[in-house]
């Protein structure tokens, strides 16, 4: 036929070779099964108790998690990792969420994808050896401190200051809402090294928790109650030049660079959480009877569940699309921003409907759905709010 040359490839063979969602091989599925078994066997049974206590045996859990490779997928064997394999790391994120306590998942996730990952991405060999290796083993807990009482989404407006003093740097300021902040062994801190240089005036530093002048306390949160969210104070904290992470003045760009990964894992986690919460809501609706039949058999609920399940699939496809682009090394800022707001907003709406179908029980603390409702509320705020995501998308579209 003129002008048309198609069907030249062996489509059957090509399609058979595409891994699930263009991402997951058989090895990934095996990894998934292993992680799920550990999460569901070791963590999930304690979720209620840990939530009540607003704590979990984090030293023990981090050590065991390190032991089964929960933190190592992104890193080479030389550091004790099993990778680098970003897709494997995505699998771990999806499965970790199934521990049923958003705070535990957040604690493990912040360690996996924030502080220590910064050291890996922007650090030199010496810094990697010192701070990554124990982090992968789960022996040292890392945190990332960017947000301040008066600077959240607007990263450029942070006021924590780092000034040179001979070969050292002296840090002064405060950070807040820092996941693992009050239990971590070290913190990656964003500070202004040149207050007049705008976005070029920001740098990153690694601060060991035992450094004099560094103090911290725990803030209590609406959700993620097992997580130790910290408020950090830096009062003439002196760190050596070797603790500068990445290039001086490039901190803002380093933060923006890792945001893509942070946001795609948030989207992955949100989709996985939404799926689990919807399953719980449907299971309850099938058991609970009203007016002579299971609530799940009322058409209004059947259709509502159908809509939510549909949106979850759409969110998953959008998120996997962003992940595929990242794995391919493409600029995925727009796609990741889309996946992040879309999935986290959806996850909260799913939790809200799941709470609704529980009726009065949804309002009782002994039912886990209230926790999903509280925990998922952080999604549209943390890691860049929904409003910021839409700003990013709009600006990338020339608006």
């Amino acid at each position: 036929m003129p002008g048309l040359e198609i069907g030249l490839e062996d489509a059957k063979e090509r399609f058979a070779a595409i891994p699930r969602a263009g991402l997951f091989t058989q090895d990934h599925e095996e990894l998934r099964a292993g992680i799920r078994q550990w999460i569901e066997g070791r963590l999930a049974p304690h979720a209620d108790e840990w939530e009540r206590e607003r704590d979990f045996p984090y030293r023990e859990v981090f050590k065991e998690a390190g032991g089964i490779g929960l933190f190592g997928a992104k890193y080479e064997e030389a550091y004790g990792g099993t990778g680098p394999d970003l897709i494997a790391d995505a699998v771990i994120t999806e499965e970790t969420v199934r521990c049923r306590a958003g705070g535990v998942a957040a604690a493990l996730g912040a360690h996996k994808d924030l502080g220590p990952y910064y050291v890996y991405r922007f650090g030199n060999e010496e810094q990697r050896r010192r701070w990554i290796v124990p982090a992968i083993a789960g022996e040292a807990i890392g945190a990332l401190a960017v947000t301040e009482p008066n600077a959240g989404s607007d990263v450029g407006s942070i006021t924590t200051r780092a000034t040179r003093d001979g070969g050292d740097w002296i840090l002064n300021g405060a950070k807040t809402f820092i996941t693992n902040g009050s239990i971590s062994d070290y913190v990656v801190v964003a500070a202004k090294t040149d207050p007049d240089a705008g976005h070029q005036g920001l740098s990153l530093f690694i601060v060991d928790a035992d450094t004099p002048g560094f103090t911290r306390s725990r803030v209590h949160t609406l959700g993620w109650r097992t997580s130790h969210t910290g408020e950090l104070h830096f009062d003439d904290v002196r760190v050596p030049a070797g603790n500068l992470l990445g290039e001086e003045g490039r901190g803002f760009y380093h933060i923006m660079g890792n945001f893509q990964w942070e946001r795609v894992v948030m989207a992955l986690g949100a989709v996985a959480a939404a799926e689990q919460t919807l399953e719980g809501g449907m299971a309850y609706a099938k058991e609970r009877h009203a007016f002579g039949r299971p609530v799940a058999k009322f058409q209004v609920w059947r259709h509502r569940f159908a809509d939510l399940a549909t949106e979850i699939e759409a969110a998953r496809s959008l998120t996997y699309h962003a992940l595929r682009k990242i794995v391919a090394g493409e600029d995925a800022v727009k796609d990741v921003s889309m996946a992040k707001w879309f999935s986290t907003e959806l996850s909260w709406r799913v939790a809200d409907e799941a709470l609704q179908v529980h009726g009065g029980y949804g309002f009782m603390m002994e039912f886990p759905v209230q926790r999903a409702w509280r925990d998922s509320r952080l999604g549209p705020i943390g890691g860049g709010t929904t409003e910021i995501m839409k700003e990013v998308i709009g600006r990338l579209m020339g608006l």
Binding site: M1, P2, G3, L4, E5, I6, G7, L8, E9, A11, R14, F15, A16, I18, A21, G22, M282, A285, K286, A296, K297, W301, R302, H303, F305, A306, D307, A309, T310, E311, E313, A314, A315, S317, L318, Y320, H321, R324, K325, A328, E330, D335, M338, W341, F342, E387, M389, K390, E391, I393, G394, R395, M397, G398, L399
Partner: protein, 383 residues
């Protein structure tokens, strides 16, 4: 190499360019005329056949191009560029709705007589499912086919049938056994020049106006036994299979239409000033556009992901229903919000926006309504 979805290869990109240039040079210039005439000319089928578009996914042995679902999706996306969605719909009925069952269930003779000329664009096909009293509830169909010796005698009526006015043959869904429930349906290939086959009305529609839609009266139409397509009594399942592909294509094509409208809206929003700045620079509009772009991307990625599963031979009815339901909602919302951004211009007749808005309204109804999609999905989740 730039990233693309695993559904596509270089071959698909090349096809996209071919179809795009055909659409832009030979079809789009006529779209306004065809809209006002309520009809696009028959030569479009012939030309699509010559270009190999009607048979893109059929094997070479039957005159097709041997392509896959990636090719089909590319074609339906590019057809949306006509800006008159009825044309793409008419062609999609020909290539992907009325004819796949002939390829899958037909005899060599049926393939020779109907499928091959349809692929060449020489015979125009329509698909007769819906009746005045049976739409989404396919099992309520009342058109009957009764055996009489070596023949079948068909009586009943069909409505909302795309291509009905000009079709040379119809893939007709009938009831052959009243007491047998879902097992009582059969498909026939019926020539439209047979006595008793009458297209009574060329229906006047809200949108999709360039496509002809007919109401058909069928009175004692006699067809030979060889007109039965596939297995007697299996018609319901055969047509359910057909609907899966139809829903995927409907989603892909209408999403592409929504993307095109959004692109033009952004262009407009950056050029149109109000209160001293482009309206696209107002934060509320910026966020509205960001939301639309996100939802289109989500729907598109879902469509592509599910197309891979369908191409691989899975039968993902739940996921295809999700594709259809979600895309239809996104398309409807996007059209409505874009019309709003165009203000009075969007409301003006003969401007593409109001047409796109009207055309898009069908996607939530045709090929299975939103409500039926939710029924399918919730049933498959055990609800």
């Amino acid at each position: 190499m730039a990233y693309r979805h695993p559904l596509f290869t270089d071959e698909h990109d090349a096809l996209r360019q071919t179809v795009r240039s055909w659409v832009e040079s030979e079809l789009t210039p006529h779209s306004v005329d065809w809209e006002s005439e309520g009809y696009f000319p028959d030569w479009v089928f012939k030309r699509a056949g010559e270009l190999g578009l009607t048979g893109a996914r059929y094997p070479v042995e039957v005159g097709g191009q041997g392509g896959d679902w990636g090719h089909t999706i590319v074609i339906s996306e590019e057809m949306a560029r006509i800006g008159s969605a009825g044309v793409g719909m008419g062609l999609a009925v020909q290539s992907d709705m009325a004819t796949p069952p002939i390829h899958k269930f037909g005899t060599p003779d049926q393939i020779e007589r109907y499928l091959k000329p349809a692929i060449r664009g020489e015979k125009i096909a329509c698909l007769g499912i819906t009746e005045p009293n049976a739409g989404s509830d396919v099992a309520a169909i009342e058109t009957t086919a009764v055996r009489d010796g070596d023949e079948w005698v068909i009586n009943g009526s069909k409505t909302f049938i795309t291509n009905a006015v000009r079709a040379d043959f119809c893939l007709l869904v009938t009831r052959t056994n009243k007491g047998a429930g879902y097992e009582g349906f059969s498909l026939f290939l019926v020539d439209t020049d047979l006595p008793g086959w009458n297209v009574q009305r060329h229906l006047d529609k809200l949108g999709m106006r360039s496509s002809d839609t007919g109401e058909i009266s069928i009175q004692d139409v006699r067809v030979p036994a060889s007109a039965l397509l596939g297995t007697e009594g299996k018609g319901f399942y055969q047509i359910m299979w057909e609907l899966q592909g139809e829903r995927l294509i409907g989603a892909a094509g209408s999403l592409s239409g929504a993307q095109l409208v959004l692109d033009r809206t952004i262009e407009y929003a950056l050029g149109r000033h109000a209160f001293g700045k482009p309206i696209g620079k107002f934060q509320v509009n910026r966020h509205a556009i960001a939301e639309m772009a996100t939802e289109i991307e989500a729907a598109r990625q879902l469509t592509y992901d599910v197309a891979i599963r369908w191409e691989r031979g899975e039968y993902p009815v739940k996921e295809i229903s999700m594709v259809k339901l979600y895309s239809a909602g996104v398309v409807g919302r996007v059209m409505n919000r874009c019309l709003q951004l165009f203000g009075g211009l969007g409301y003006s007749d003969e401007f593409f926006m109001e047409r796109a808005w009207r055309d898009a309204r069908l996607i939530r109804i045709g090929g299975g309504t939103d409500e039926v999609m939710r029924e399918v999905i919730s049933k498959s989740m055990g609800l």
